[in-house]
């Protein structure tokens, strides 16, 4: 286990780090943790070491971050992570029953994996789809307006080796492949992008407006909005390309910005000054 990560993963790690400004490599830590999950299925001690080594951090620093976030799993996780929203709205509209059913169906509780390593179940906090309540996700793809028997059928289909189509979102892929996308790499299935048309709840208002011919009047895209842009050589047109020095572990400190009330005036004044300096 001395070299648990493939050369491909190491190459990808370099790509991730390169997305962030020089001296700010630590920003790559969250995607790197997704990356190690893409290879191992969870954040193992070796995964912690891998990230620490790449970013020149201690293992404790990496572990402190990895244990903070729900999506980093600390034990091997199933191919299919089923998350049932049991926050208030989904809960009262049937999410509690869906979760109860899946607990019985899979024989596991929250954050537990079936003995065959295929499924992990969890109850999730609000999944930001309350208009589709109750919702669950499989590897984070939405299955909307779930009823217990539908949830049971989705599990049965996955057991049969099928991949049921999510209501919104792309066709399913195993959790490790999804983790690679979470690390910021494109979905390698071009057709997956086109999956998941908006559901009726998303379109409820705009469809109503279209049906009744309602539009916002007075929209003229040629409305004048300001003076011409300065030529590129002019100062203030573009921020400097340099980055400020890394602050290491220090948290930023400095001049307090103006309070909301007086600040507006001050900021306004600064803008005015900037204007006066220009021809």
């Amino acid at each position: 286990m001395s070299e648990p990560f493939s050369e491909e993963t190491r190459q990808r790690a370099k790509e991730i780090i390169a997305r962030y400004p020089h001296g700010r490599e630590r920003s790559a830590l969250l995607p790197l943790l997704h990356l190690v999950q893409a290879e191992e299925g969870y954040v193992s001690p070796a995964g912690i070491s891998f990230c620490a080594e790449l970013l020149n951090l201690t293992r404790a620093q990496v572990a402190a971050v990895a244990t903070f976030y729900t999506m980093y799993k600390r034990a091997p996780t199933g191919d299919w992570l089923i998350s049932v929203c049991t926050n208030t709205m989904c809960g009262v509209l049937g999410g509690d029953a869906v979760y109860q059913t899946l607990q019985e169906e899979l024989g596991v509780g929250h954050d537990e994996t079936t003995p065959d390593g295929v499924f992990t179940l969890e109850h999730a906090e609000c999944l930001a789809a309350c208009d589709y309540a109750p919702v669950m996700t499989v590897n984070y793809e939405y299955f909307d307006q779930m009823r217990p028997e539908q949830a049971r059928e989705i599990v049965a289909a996955l057991r049969r080796g099928e991949r049921p189509q999510p209501t919104r979102g792309a066709r399913l892929c195993p959790l490790k492949e999804m983790s690679l996308q979470l690390a910021g790499f494109p979905d390698e299935r071009p057709e997956a992008l086109a999956d998941g048309p908006p559901g009726e709840p998303s379109l409820a208002g705009v469809r109503l407006a279209a049906e009744h011919g309602i539009e916002v009047p007075g929209f003229d895209p040629a409305t004048p909005i300001g003076r011409p842009a300065p030529t590129p050589a002019e100062p203030g047109h573009q921020a400097p390309a340099t980055v400020s020095e890394p602050a290491a572990d220090r948290k930023p400190a400095g001049e307090p910005p103006p309070a909301a009330g007086g600040g507006a005036e001050q900021a306004g004044t600064a803008v005015e000054k900037g204007r006066n300096e220009k021809p």
Partner: protein, 442 residues
């Protein structure tokens, strides 16, 4: 299901949601056909300072919950300071009830990219980050694709459309932490730390990402910018109210016939929203509702006609928040709803400050005891006392928000609490299954 009246239908303002009806609007070619990137061309032709002034004039207020004037926020960015500037888009949608940003990013990702480019140009940022909630995988998939398409078309990269302006956008997925929706926690998370809030001041406008001037704006705020650039401030102000101008996506969920996203001028009322949503479901009568997610104190049927704008909600003792209108009926228990929300705040408290970490932990247990039929009258005082010690004493708004469901449910539904405590209401949880609470009053 009832049909909305013409007067109420006229409250609809399809602006940000309009393209959602075109199923392929996430593709660049379709987006461009639907006037996409025309706002960027127009914006790049004017002085960045004038764009800041335009957004100030429009009266646009942040759509992420706090309602801070966007133009003013942009104006706080010091110009000519020799430091790099950053734009960070807060796409960490997760406030219970809120579900407007994810459909926007899935259906119309380029509108967010276009807004981000214009906003970056205005504040002179050459790097922008979209911090998208980890679980929002399809939104991130479409965003990453949109960034790649925009880059290939010359809308991103160096010398954008020959303007001399350079910008790179990175779509950065979170990893499951509600607290990262708090802007300074988001910045810490983006820097590779635990997502815990920072002490303010200094504010992100001067010491944000990498201790540099940073604008952090919500998805809906940034996606609104191109429409202001095209239509102008006056047109924008033709929607909404004087102090809360513009269109807003209201997320209506719960016991209505047609839950969903309804984009209307700010200031619409719950009565009108319910009408748009096809009325209450058969057999359900409005009992309680949140105007802007669980962190905004709940309201009741007496507030059916209160305008859902920043001022109207403040006047009713609550907040507009994210316009996440969760509608509950007489068949839903306000104490159970509160308990579920407290489980959420307990789980999502980052642990940095004691009032929030400990207070939510205990409040959740006290609520569970009440729902198990083992509550005491002192429990109500304990809950209110805990809220007193969290509100205003927590490190960030998460703790403050956590007290909202507790205090508001006790305010409007004290009798339901008493019914559990005094044995008039069937316990929600079997009392025998509940462990004794250490340190609790007997």
């Amino acid at each position: 299901m009832t049909s909305p009246s013409p007067e109420v239908l006229a409250k609809l303002t399809p602006v940000l949601t309009k393209r959602w009806l075109s199923p392929d609007a996430w593709r660049l070619e379709v987006y461009e056909r639907l006037d996409g990137y025309t706002a960027l061309r127009k914006a790049l032709s004017v002085h960045p300072d004038d764009l800041i002034q335009l957004v100030k004039d429009s009266g646009l207020r942040g759509r992420g919950g706090a309602g801070f004037p966007t133009g003013m926020k942009w104006g706080f960015i010091p110009q000519g300071d020799g430091k790099p500037h950053y734009l960070v888009v807060n796409a960490d949608e997760g406030e219970p009830g809120t579900c407007k940003d994810l459909p926007l990013m899935m259906a119309d990702p380029h509108s967010l990219i276009e807004g981000a480019i214009i906003s970056s140009y205005a504040v002179r940022a050459n790097r922008a980050f979209i911090y998208v909630r980890g679980e929002a995988v399809h939104a991130a998939r479409r965003l990453r694709h949109a960034v790649a398409e925009a880059r290939a078309a010359g809308y991103l990269g160096t010398n954008i459309l020959g303007s001399g302006f350079d910008l790179e956008i990175v779509v950065h997925s979170g990893a499951g932490a509600y607290i990262c929706g708090e802007e300074t926690a988001l910045l810490d998370s983006l820097e590779g730390y635990r997502g815990q809030p920072r002490l303010r001041p200094p504010f992100p406008a001067t010491h944000g990402l990498y201790a540099s001037p940073t604008v952090v704006n919500n998805v809906e705020t940034i996606a609104t910018v191109p429409y202001i650039v095209l239509g102008g401030a006056q047109w924008f102000r033709s929607m909404g109210t004087e102090k809360s101008p513009g269109p807003k996506i209201y997320s209506v969920s719960g016991r209505v016939n047609r839950p969903g996203q309804y984009e209307c001028g700010l200031g619409i009322t719950l009565r009108e929203l319910i009408e748009l949503a096809g009325g209450m479901q058969e057999g359900h009568e409005l009992s309680f509702w949140t105007p802007g997610g669980s962190s905004t104190p709940m309201l009741t049927a007496e507030h059916l006609d209160t305008p859902l704008d920043f001022e109207g909600m403040m006047g009713a003792g609550t907040m507009l928040g994210t316009t996440a209108v969760q509608v509950f009926s007489n068949q839903d228990c306000p104490v159970y709803a509160t308990y579920r929300w407290m489980e959420f705040y307990h789980h999502e408290s980052c642990g940095k400050c004691t009032p929030c970490r400990e207070g939510n932990y205990w409040m959740k247990q006290v609520l569970r005891r009440i729902l198990s039929g083992k509550g005491t009258h002192e429990d109500l005082e304990t809950l209110l006392d805990a809220c007193d010690n969290i509100l205003g004493r927590a490190f960030c708004a998460l703790g403050d928000g956590a007290t909202s469901p507790v205090t508001s449910s006790i305010k409007y539904f004290k009798q339901v609490y008493l019914d559990y405590i005094e044995g008039r209401r069937e316990p929600w949880f079997a009392p025998s299954a509940e462990p004794e609470l250490v340190g609790a009053y007997k």
